[in-house]
Amino acid sequence: MTIALSVVDLTRDFDVSAPWLNRVIERKPKAFLRAVDDISFEVPLGSCLSLVGESGCGKSTVARLVTGLYRPSSGTIKFSAGKTGAPLSAQMIFQDPFASLNPRWRVFDVIAEPLREFGLRKGTTAIAGRVAELLTTVGLSPNDGRKFPHEFSGGQRQRISIARALAGEPEFLVCDEPTSALDVSVQAQILNLMRRLQDEMGLTYLFISHDMSVVRHMSNQIAVMYLGRIVEQAATEQLFADPKHPYTRMLLETIPNVRNPKRQREAPAGEVPSPMNPPSGCTFHTRCPLADGRCKVERPEMRAYPGGSRVACHRVAESMAALAVPA
């Protein structure tokens, strides 16, 4: 198994201090928000790893760190060598197709820009041919290149974003909630398109979503994040069949299931604490049904378990002590 991307001990702090003068007058210290806290994962070539979690858990920050839009505070992000020997090239698909396309550019220019910038095609006819080809690949007509983004629906705009990402001939795509702004029937079109492109072009995906059912459909591996940390990572089927971390279990229990609704369920108590002031020890202890004294003080290590899952939880470690090996 070749590794396409390896992320080791990645941390990102944001400075959220008050302005300098306020700090001096009000004697406030500098304040930092740790959006991503010491996370490590690997994405095998040609597969799809999904990061899931509730809002504010740091999943989009990871996407932006991986694509270089933010610099890490510490830790390393390493792409392995691609077909040409250079590191794999990465592109990103953003959540909101209404904000990620320049409204004053024709679709043709939106898609042609990476071709011109990276010098991937030379000459007007070569560029026009490639743009037409990309538009066809994503299920639009080559004539659509003459139109402006506002002439398209949300789903079509997301297709344009995908065509633009593909124009850079990436081998790695980072998709930050690509379908959460879309209606379900359109979401299905985009997910099908992304699966087809992965099969045809051998793309590797880092997929960010809050929707467990979308994640299940798309990914080979799932990493569940909570307050900036990965709490559990496992193969998709493994995670759904045997969720180990109490947070993963809670997530799986609370997602509404259309085909098998649980009407009389117990809603989970509590809310996600503020990342400005995360709880001590295991950050989930404030909402965890299994938490004890140790969880409040000691931060759990990530441990590997048989079946290939990695879990950061004291209680799981205790109950499976005989089987666990430090990861």
Partner: protein, 326 residues
Amino acid sequence: MTQTPILDVKALRVEFPGRHGTVTALADVSFSIQPGEILGVVGESGAGKSMAGLAVQGLLEPPGRVSGGEVRLDGRRIDTLTDGEMEKVRGKEIGAIFQDPLTSLNPLFSVGQQLVETIRLHLGLDRKTARARAIALLTEVGIPAPDVRVDHYPHQFSGGMRQRVVIALALAARPKLIIADEPTTALDVSIQAQITALLRKLCDDHGTAVMLVTHDMGVIAETADRVAVMYAGRLVEVGPVAEVIANPQHPYTAGLMGSIPALGARVPMLTQIDGSMPRLDAIPAGCAFNPRCPKVMDRCRVERPELMPSGSGQSACWLKAMETTP
């Protein structure tokens, strides 16, 4: 069921007159909600589901207007009331919950002041009793330490707690009907589960009828008793939730169900409905769904189907008409 429904909407039609002709936003929308029942109204963006909720409350933005049909609340016709009369109905008899809990609360007043104002206006209580009732309401919607929280401002609450405050406001005058427009869309899944459980409980405890407008079939499946599926301003299917999900009668509902990724088994490709919903000023002749329908027939392109009995509910599709009258 022979009792008077709390809300009875018949052949409701909403139009927006404009310079380039009149756009019909809702046509022939008929449904009813019984006491203690939750009716889910589901559809994609632009299907007219929010419009239906607004039309019932008389909150259409001009030039939009109700141009046909009738709306009855507990047997009394409310679509013909004047604005002044309607103001007394809203808040007292119809409670509203909107999508974004931050913008539906006034940031300059504490939640207690907002609750007390609503309670005093509609129930005519004195300040002290109203405050006690405000605290009781906050307790009922599950806000911890309500006697302290009552004096807090909206920004001091988290998203889920704010939505609870909005629900408390909607309940303030013990309305017969609550119209909840995407009440959980802005919330995380674990909080969403708390809010839907709360809505269900309140509905069971007080026999309040709820019109739950959402695009999320999962929320409908877990909360509603019956579901009405909308497409391009029309109802395409109405029926008991479990039936509609297990055995959708209309091809659009079937497509919608197929496009939801399943949690159970991983399928190689999702069923997709090609194309997208038509713009309201360019609704095709005949059945509005015909250009996207996998089972389209000649009749669908010319003649518009009405809701007709189908399975254990109703659906507006010529296929069903053919099955029943061979």
